[in-house]
């Protein structure tokens, strides 16, 4: 509502406004409707019943009010407020006052007195609460004014004793937002001293209404958020609230305790019923841990989440959270985790087969067992096996955060994380895999843990498998058996899900390069070489064999002794793979081979600079262009474009900049070429046919400008101006060409007018940037604007033509970071010769898997296009859930596209490609004065379209006629 109010600043209170003539140079007069606020006054006076008045107010609330007239409206509303008897109308007026006082540019201090005044005479609780809300809005608009703040706090304190919970709630909210803690703030002249707000709020922790208690805690948190330091005294109060009957109170109290524990981590608190003392943060940690087994899952989620951010907790307490102190028949029992660890360290491999190996051991002293108040004991064990997956996810996240800050804890929580890999809900499994990846620096997996981890590779969910591959990329494995196990499981996975090929290769690449010494003893076995006999050469196209080679070659990179174990064909395969899969296979120092590429990879850093320089130089050269003769200019442009494109291919870091500049130069080149056309020199009627080139150029420039505007991320406003300028030139060109080739003047009228509107729009959009466009086409155009307005189309065209020729070439400033959006369709691969057969009229689902780079907001912009052989095109909007975000700037689209067609006689290919949809509205700043219903002169504002940004993939399909 507030946004809605701000948007229209268009109303005057009583007078009729005429849009100023200079601003809009169209020939129409723009009349606004008579002011609605004037009507409000009349309506309110006219209203016979409260229901009527309410209706009018509701109608009024739908329209915004501009800053200058707010005060007038407020006066009318207040005047009516005093007269009104019906509480619902008063309520509405009070809420309107609040909304109005939020209007940008309006200073609400003038209505504060009135608001406080009416507050004192108000009887209805609801209206009171609403008025306090209004005061809150006023107060938060004037954060510097101490006197007003004090006064409002005072008002709030007075109404704290109200019987209605709503009023007390609002008072506390107001105190939280405006109150200050320090008593020694400047004494006010009126005798209002700053109160100790914290104490006042604290008193309401024991209010009888749970909603008020919640509001009190929230107000306290609000104080904290505003940067005021809470006193430690509230810690005990907050602790009492942890056993409140109502979940929202407990949930808020947990937050408050967390806040206090972060403020005073080191202060000492006594443990009740003993004379020991512990650090406050530890005590709070214990209390929050206890809330992990609360009755309400909302509180449990809250508690589990907060645990993660308590990093100052002493490790002793931290490690308790993973220890549940098992017992059976009063005898201490070891957990399965402890047993597994022991078995592993003792060298045994079977587990659980021995009878009674989980039999409880020592007796427990019954007095020493503490069943409930054991503080942090087992909090995570409980959290991780909670009923609600929300709690489990929160617990996993908390584990992750704590483990990142404490390596010893990371080691301890490993068992639990590994267990979570078998959770029944996929999201939890995924989350725990990600968590494990994040803490992988601190941990080394034991073999039995690795076993459990690897078992998940058979999961049917692709996300899980890929997450697991990522995890394996950065895991430390302790033994060579571990590596072997991992390889075997990965190959099994590959056999079961061939689509995981790329991900598995990548995973093995890292696994190899991390553990060269562990791979070394495995090499003969993996390559199945024999000391005496030659073995058969494996099939080079086998993905599994490639996987093994990727592992070995990456290990060999840092292990120079390894190549000695290779057989001849291995070297041949190396050469082949180094060429075909260069991103997976590193350069090796092989005996008797030249180090071709190793120098390149090691010397990348110094290379960057020259290429950057080269780019800059070639651009500079071009920008001095206007002094050259057209012929030379064209050649230079062509050369530079070629250079830039090649540079983009070679240097991936500069690809974005190079492509972007090349595209711009391309536009310029096209423009120059079009203006060089002979057509301009010959009388118009003779050149009807040959204008093709010029109009085609105009069209292409337009397309290129859209690409420049929407396909690159990181484009700033100054580039957008240049791009729009280029587009304007293209439009001018189009106009001239049309003028030359069409007979009659009538169509020209419309076109001219449209063009002028666009110029006008351009001016308004980029008024701030116009100074950079000295001497440009638009600059000159704007100079002549009044003349153009008055001229006939033929004249306009003539002027445009000369201006277009005279205009200079604008320098395109390069943005800091620019990346071209790109997409690669991984699946369908387009290699299959087997057509996808389906019955005509029914649908077939086609799995599409693509990676997207540097696409902003892919959920709304990326579309899939299917092109049938008959020219029919179909656009599919993927669901937002189909996009995953594996890394910054990267997205992955995994979706299903439904194909359908009538029967064909033989199979044929359809093309699938990805499109980037754009909408020029998104970029252009909004104009506050444009009201919704009005048709603005900007035709251009809503240009929408799509840019193909992936290579099309062909899919062979065959719709069969339905059998009857």
């Amino acid at each position: 509502m507030a946004a809605h109010l701000k948007k229209r600043v268009y109303e005057e209170f009583t007078k009729v406004v005429q849009q100023q003539q200079e601003e809009i140079t169209t020939k129409k007069l723009r009349l606004t409707k008579p002011s609605k606020s004037a009507a409000l006054h009349i309506d309110l006076c006219k209203a016979t019943s409260p229901a009527d008045a309410l209706q009018y107010l509701l109608q009024f609330a739908r329209k915004p009010v501009e800053a200058e007239s707010v005060e007038g409206v407020v006066r009318i509303l207040l005047e009516h407020y005093y007269k009104e008897n019906d509480p619902s109308v008063r309520l509405k007026i009070a809420s309107l006052l609040g909304l109005l006082s939020k209007t940008a540019g309006f200073s609400p201090d003038c209505i504060m007195d009135d608001a406080i005044n009416i507050l004192q005479n108000e009887k209805s609780h609801q209206v009171l609460a609403q008025l306090l809300d209004t005061l809150l809005a006023i107060g938060s608009k004037l954060p510097e004014n101490q006197a007003i703040q004090l006064r409002l706090v005072d008002v709030a304190c007075k109404h704290l004793t109200d019987t209605s919970h709503g009023v007390r709630n609002k008072c506390l909210q107001l105190l939280g937002n405006l109150g200050s803690l320090e008593k020694s703030v400047t004494k006010d002249a009126e005798g209002l001293t700053a109160r100790d707000v914290q104490k006042i709020i604290g008193d309401y922790f024991s209010d009888q209404d749970p909603r008020v208690r919640t509001a009190a805690i929230k107000a306290m948190l609000q104080l904290h958020e505003r940067g005021l330091k809470l006193h430690q005294t509230i810690y005990n109060q907050a602790c009492k609230l942890l056993s409140d009957d109502y979940e929202q109170v407990r949930s808020a109290a947990v937050q408050l305790i967390w806040v206090v524990s972060q403020l005073y981590p080191e202060s000492i608190v006594p443990i009740p019923s003993s004379n020991e003392e512990i650090r406050l943060v530890d005590d709070a940690f214990g209390k929050i841990c206890h809330m992990v087994s609360d009755g309400s899952w909302v509180v449990r989620v809250q508690a589990a989440k907060l645990l993660g951010s308590m990093e100052q907790v002493s490790s002793h307490f931290l490690e308790q959270t993973l220890d549940k102190k098992l017992m059976s028949d009063l005898r201490r029992k070891r957990t399965a985790h402890e047993r597994a660890k022991e078995l592993y360290s003792s060298g045994e491999f079977s587990s659980g087969r021995k009878w009674g190996d989980d039999a409880p051991k020592e007796e427990i002293d019954t007095g020493a067992v503490n069943l409930i108040e054991s503080g942090a004991c087992g909090a995570f064990v409980h959290g991780l096996e909670d009923e609600m997956y929300e709690v489990r996810i929160a617990a996993v996240e908390a584990l992750c955060m704590l483990a990142q800050s404490s390596p010893s804890f990371a080691e301890k929580c490993l068992d639990f994380l590994v267990d979570m890999f078998n959770d029944e809900i996929e999201e939890v499994r995924l989350q725990s895999i990600h968590t494990m990846r994040k803490i992988s620096n601190n941990i080394t997996l034991r073999e039995d843990q690795l076993d459990t981890v690897l078992a998940v590779l058979e999961d049917s969910s692709r996300d899980i498998r890929e997450a697991l591959h990522e995890l394996l990329c950065c895991t430390n494995v302790s033994t060579k058996e571990g590596i072997h196990l991992a390889l075997v499981e990965l190959l099994k996975n590959l056999a079961k899900y061939p689509t995981d090929r790329d991900s598995i290769w990548k995973c093995l690449k890292f696994l190899g390069s991390r553990h060269p010494t562990l791979v070394l003893p495995l090499v003969p076995e993996l390559l199945s070489t024999h000391p005496f006999f030659d073995t058969a050469e494996p099939d080079m196209d086998d993905p599994a064999y490639i996987a093994v080679l990727v592992l070995i070659f990456n290990a060999a990179k840092t292990c120079p002794t390894m190549p000695a174990l290779f057989s001849d064909h291995t070297f041949r395969h190396y050469a082949y793979l180094r060429d075909s899969l260069s991103h997976l296979v590193p350069a090796l120092r092989l005996p008797g081979r030249k180090l071709v590429s190793s120098t390149v990879s090691s010397n990348i850093a110094p290379h960057e600079d020259p290429s950057q320089q080269f780019l800059q130089q070639s651009l500079d050269r071009v920008y001095s262009l206007q002094h050259l003769d057209p012929q030379g200019a064209q050649e230079l442009l062509e050369l530079t474009i070629r250079d830039l494109q090649r540079l983009g291919e070679l240097q991936s870091e500069l690809a974005g900049v190079a492509d972007f500049s090349a595209t711009y130069l391309q536009c310029q080149l096209l423009l120059i070429k079009a203006l060089q056309e002979k057509l301009w020199n010959v009388a118009a009627p003779l050149y009807l046919k040959q204008s093709d080139l010029a109009s085609a150029a105009a069209k292409q420039i337009m397309e290129e400008t859209y690409k420049m505007e929407f396909m690159y991320s990181g484009v700033e406003n100054k580039q957008v101006v240049i791009i729009h300028h280029m587009r304007l030139q293209a439009k001018a060109l189009q106009l001239i060409v049309t003028a030359r080739t069409t007979r009659g003047v009538d169509p020209l009228f419309g076109m001219c007018e449209k063009f002028l509107q666009e110029v006008d729009f351009f001016q308004r959009c980029f008024i701030a940037d116009l100074s950079h466009l000295q001497d440009s086409f638009v600059d000159k155009l704007l100079d002549l604007m009044p003349r153009l307005m008055a001229s006939k189309p033929a004249e306009v065209v003539k002027i445009l033509q000369t201006m277009l020729r005279q205009s200079t070439f604008l320098h395109l400033p390069l943005p800091e970071q620019i990346h071209k959006a790109s997409a690669t369709i991984i699946e369908p691969a387009g290699e299959s010769d087997n057509p996808l057969r389906f019955t005509s009229g029914l649908v077939v689902a086609l799995d599409v898997d693509a990676t997207l780079e540097h696409v902003q907001d892919p959920q709304s912009t990326v579309k899939v296009q299917v092109l049938y052989p008959d020219g029919q095109a179909q656009m599919i909007h993927p669901k937002p859930a189909d996009f995953r975000n594996p890394g910054p700037g990267r997205h992955r689209l995994i979706t299903q596209v439904y194909l359908s067609h009538t029967a064909w006689t033989e199979p044929c290919q359809v093309e699938v490609r990805l499109l980037l949809a754009y909408n020029s509205n998104a970029r252009i700043p909004k104009f506050p004065w444009i009201e919704g219903g009005e048709v603005s002169p900007q035709v251009e504002t809503s240009i929408e379209g799509t840019i193909p940004f992936s290579k099309p993939v062909k899919v062979y399909i065959m719709p069969k006629p339905a059998r009857r």
Binding site: T161, S206, K324, T335, L371, E385, E387, D419, N422, E458
Partner: protein, 602 residues
């Protein structure tokens, strides 16, 4: 007035696991909680001794209702016997899933007892049907009015499908009976939950009173590993289960594991019961855990792909297999038959997933016995591996404490457990919650005094007036209130004294205190009065002090008059008079005046 006492009479469920049957008498209402049988006995001892309840008269007259917490036979097995053979016609309350599954189990039990063992004097199929007709089904959290005073309410208990905890409430007194419950969720059911209902008594089971269990994930992984290893070795795995409950959890576990690992080894489920039972599991999806509820639209987890029905002949098939067989404690039926066949081979394995009652074969092999005496004096040597996986869905010690913490009862009563273990838990509960805790033996009666709260109506006017006086919010703290309590027609009302007078037609007696204060003052009466006035005005800032034209001073309703002393002209007498209601202020004033007036600024 009714006796305000809650006293459960545990008929057969005291310090014993086996038969649950508890009698609660609360504020004059008698409720029977569960009606179970004992698995270990085959004679009369298996049913509770109902003659204990009432020697004379019909049960229907004595009991107001019967509540069944869940469908396990040790909680509902004696129900047809009780209702049809002993004779009870009152309502029987249970949840919908229990109502659906209970008759299947009873029928199965009857078949084993009558058809296999040939017992006479047992209830018939018709009796089961008739008994089930008396059942009233309740929903979770639905408050059911049994009669005008007695109401019951069910809470989710986990444990098995449809298991519920019941709150029984008469007026302000209430009892919560937990039945069997589970505080950790498992593969198919959620965790028990109860709100802070603060009952007078919480009757909780205590099967695992002295155990704190490891995380269920380890248990599950262990279980799967054991099964997988045995099967890979070519061995057969026998898992004795009750037809319903744990079986379904283990089925889901194995089913998903089989699917993930792509195993082909057959899994069998022994009885025909399963299909029927699984049907109900599919139906009552709302009673299962979050995962199953979320995914049943795509695929109902209870539609098993890998688990097939078992045929007697399969037991002799070569090669590995996994068989779920009933009953769970290896005391009779198919599981015992299969166990006999497979016990001789050390490659095989039996996994006991739950608790075994003393006296059953299950209990014997678990306690390490390797030679078993079977019927007909033959001795069976057990070579197969015996594993115990605690899959029993009872709350462990921590869980019980957690539930007690959630419900905040005034006292706790432990049932359904072994005496030795209960003793430990009892100490813990008393120590940590500071509530009294009882653990009666079979047939023992516990009587609990309760402090009943008596509702008193208060007139709105009085309430508002008193609210307005005490300004600070002090929730739940007692507050002093002036009013008159009227007890009339067994109703209590608190009204203001004026109204009470009016209603009773009495006139108010004015009670005034007067007091003389002697002051040393040589001036005239009027001047003294004036000095008193100004003094009081300064001291009592927030009271209304007035100087009346006749020379007297009033503070609120207190009147002060100055008079000359009849003998000593230098002494003035101040007459202070106040009503009984202003006693506090009046005595304060006299004390103040006795201290004398400040020196006049003459």
């Amino acid at each position: 007035m009714s006796p305000h006492r809650v006293f459960p009479l545990p008929v057969w469920a005291g310090q014993d696991v086996g038969r649950s049957c508890i009698l609660v008498s609360i504020a004059g209402k008698n409720v029977m909680l569960d009606c179970g049988m004992h698995m270990g006995y085959n004679d009369d001892r298996r049913f509770p001794d109902f003659s204990y309840i009432t020697q004379s008269g019909r049960l229907t007259d004595f009991l107001d209702c019967v509540i069944i917490s869940h469908f396990h036979l040790d909680h509902c097995g004696a129900l047809p016997y009780f209702s049809e053979m002993v004779g009870y016609d009152g309502p029987i309350y249970m949840t919908h899933p229990t109502q659906a599954i209970c008759p299947i189990l009873l029928e199965d039990y009857r078949k084993i007892a009558v058809d296999k063992k040939g017992e006479a004097n047992f209830f018939t199929s018709q009796m089961i049907k008739d008994c089930m007709k008396k059942v009233v089904a309740v929903h979770l959290h639905q408050t059911v009015q049994v009669d005008d005073e007695l109401e019951i309410k069910a809470y989710y208990a986990g444990h098995v499908l449809g298991a519920a905890m019941f709150q029984i409430k008469v007026g302000s007194e209430s009892v919560v009976y937990t039945g069997d419950y589970n505080m950790t969720p498992d593969r198919h059911l959620g965790a028990a939950w109860i709100d802070k209902c603060r009952p007078n008594l919480l009757i909780t089971e205590s099967t695992y009173a002295t155990t704190i269990r490891d995380s269920k994930r380890c248990r599950e992984r262990d279980f799967l590993k054991k099964v997988h290893e045995t099967v890979e070795r070519g061995g057969k795995v026998l898992i004795p289960v009750f037809a319903l409950g744990r079986a379904q959890e283990l089925c889901i576990l194995l089913e998903t594991f089989w699917e993930r690992m792509n195993l082909k080894v057959p899994i069998y489920f022994s009885t025909g019961l399963t299909e029927k039972a699984n049907h109900y599991y599919k139906l009552f999806i709302t009673w299962t855990n979050q995962k199953i509820r979320k995914t049943f639209v795509q695929r109902n987890m209870f539609e098993f792909k890998h688990i097939k029905a078992f045929d007697r002949a399969f037991a002799d098939n070569p090669g590995p297999m996994v068989v779920f067989a009933t009953p769970g404690m290896l005391h009779a039926g198919q599981s015992l038959q299969i166990f006999r066949k497979w016990a001789g081979n050390e490659k095989n394995m039996v996994i006991m997933p739950g608790y075994c009652v003393q006296g059953t074969v299950g209990h014997k092999i678990l306690s390490g016995q390797r030679k078993l005496e079977m019927e007909g004096r033959q001795v069976l040597e057990v070579k197969m591996q015996v594993e115990y996986m605690s899959f029993s869905a009872h709350a462990d010690a921590k869980g019980i404490m957690q539930l007690v913490g959630q419900a905040e009862p005034e006292s706790v009563l432990l049932v359904h457990g072994e005496a030795k273990k209960m003793e430990f838990l009892r100490q813990k509960i008393e120590q940590e919650f500071r509530v009294s805790c009882y653990m009666p033996a079979n047939g023992e009666t516990v009587t609990l005094p309760t402090s009943p709260s008596i509702p008193v109506g208060i007139s709105l006017g009085l309430l508002k007036r008193e609210m307005a006086q005490g300004l600070l919010p002090e929730a739940k703290k007692p507050r002093l209130l002036h009013g008159t309590l009227i007890m009339k027609d067994s109703s209590f009302r608190l009204v203001s004294s004026e109204q009470a007078l009016k209603e009773l037609g009495l006139t108010e007696h004015q009670l005034r205190f007067t007091c003389r204060v002697h002051l040393q003052d040589t001036r005239k009466e009027q001047e003294t009065a004036l000095r008193v006035y100004s003094h009081l005005k300064n001291t009592l800032k927030d009271h209304c002090v007035q100087h009346l034209p006749d020379g007297s001073v009033t503070v609120e309703s207190i009147l002060i008059q100055a008079a000359a002393h009849s003998e000593d002209p230098g002494t003035k007498v101040l007459l202070v008079s106040w009503t009984y209601q202003d006693e506090e202020l009046g005595s304060f004033l006299t004390a103040l005046l006795k201290n004398g007036l400040p020196q006049a600024p003459s």
